[in-house]
């Protein structure tokens, strides 16, 4: 049947499903909250909750051990983390001199694939979920980081860029009996 053929491309479609669901969520949040900042914050919080669980999934399916430095962390995030869950490999660049801050450049952003921002949402960072995911996931491996989008194609910038900054190691956060 000709009908069947187009559904075989399962992986791609399940990505679209994710994109569409995320879109429905954002538009619901925009309706629910008055300011864009609140929407950003809420998306980030949800991302955090996802990240906290996602890291477990990630460690279970990859054989990644502990990272020795922040450069390695950045590499794992882009080449393994994003690759595994979203099928993209954002570019890691713009290291600062101290080596504790870098940028992720997204050439394609699966979250924002079919998206156009309407007028009047100049403070909305559409993909804020990802910020939370990174923070949450790294916190579970004892790393406190700060992350934020600084450029977004959706807002008319030339590229989508997320800045990630290492804050500190969470020494005491290992539960008793672990390690």
């Amino acid at each position: 049947m000709s009908k069947q053929a187009s559904f075989r491309d399962n992986k791609k479609v399940s990505g679209e499903l994710f994109t569409l669901t995320y879109g429905a969520l954002v538009s619901q949040l925009v309706k629910d909250y008055e300011s864009d900042e609140d929407v950003n914050r809420q998306l980030e919080r949800m991302g955090y909750n996802i990240g906290v669980r996602l890291i477990e999934d990630f460690l279970a399916r990859s054989n990644t051990g502990r990272c020795n430095d922040f450069r390695e962390t950045a590499d794992v995030i882009s080449k393994q983390g994003f690759k595994t869950f979203l099928g993209i490999t954002p570019q890691v660049t713009n290291w600062n001199a101290a080596g504790d801050e870098f940028s992720l450049i997204f050439e394609s952003n699966p979250l924002a694939e079919f998206v156009e921002l309407p007028e009047g949402h100049s403070n909305l960072w559409y993909s804020s979920l990802l910020v939370g995911v990174i923070k949450g996931a790294l916190e579970m491996v004892q790393m406190e980081v700060d992350a934020a989008f600084v450029q977004d194609v959706l807002r008319g910038d030339t590229q989508t860029e997320m800045r990630v900054r290492f804050i500190k190691k969470l020494e005491d956060a290992v539960p008793v009996g672990e390690e």
Partner: protein, 193 residues
């Protein structure tokens, strides 16, 4: 120093919480490991996002259970509608209602939840019952009956998906879901004429 002593118990609590919800999770991953270890896997993200959406909608203030479920259903509707538009782009026109339902049970369900509907029944008067014997989102929660009423909220979004998908192919319907035994879900579709 102060910070540290605060951080520790919070993290521990979260960890316990996490184990409880996902006790079956790691096992199912290991099973699929060979199949999809290198491929992109938006599926996991989708599942987690869906759970997060449910949690968020049900924890917002000044909102009752029914209202929250309605909201979830509407989100599902939007997604289902646009999804089916993309899915059926190159497909032949459906001959009849049963064809459409078969499409929902097979292709649509496989795409969204990775399996077919296990059982489709109809009274030939516009009422269809779709049985999923192990609904994906409930699969990872206990099979104990204890949480059956709690789990109702996880099927609101899928109900919307089905209703949206049917709307996308030109049929308006009413969809409800019923859980009696975990993780079995009965979706009932009533076609409106």
């Amino acid at each position: 120093m102060h910070q540290h002593s605060i951080v520790a118990p919070i993290v521990r609590f979260r960890f316990v919480n996490f184990l409880f919800i996902f006790s079956n999770f790691t096992r199912s991953i290991n099973k699929n490991k060979n199949k999809s270890s290198t491929m992109a896997d938006a599926e996991t993200m989708f599942d987690l996002l869906q759970m997060e959406i449910v949690k968020f909608t049900h924890s917002s203030k000044n909102i009752g259970k029914n209202e929250a479920n309605t909201k979830l259903e509407q989100m599902g509707y939007r997604v289902g509608q646009s999804l089916v538009e993309k899915l059926t782009k190159d497909a032949a026109r459906f001959n009849n209602e049963l064809d459409m339902m078969k499409f929902i049970c097979k292709d649509f369900w496989i795409m969204v939840y990775g399996k077919q509907i296990d059982n489709l029944r109809t009274n030939h008067q516009g009422v269809y019952v779709l049985n999923d014997n192990s609904f994906k989102l409930l699969n990872r929660i206990t099979t104990n009956r204890q949480f059956v009423s709690e789990c109702q909220k996880y099927v609101a979004f899928p109900c919307g998906l089905v209703r949206g998908a049917l709307a996308g192919v030109g049929v308006s319907s009413f969809v409800s879901a019923d859980i009696k035994e975990m993780p079995l879900v009965k979706f009932q579709v009533e076609i409106q004429r």
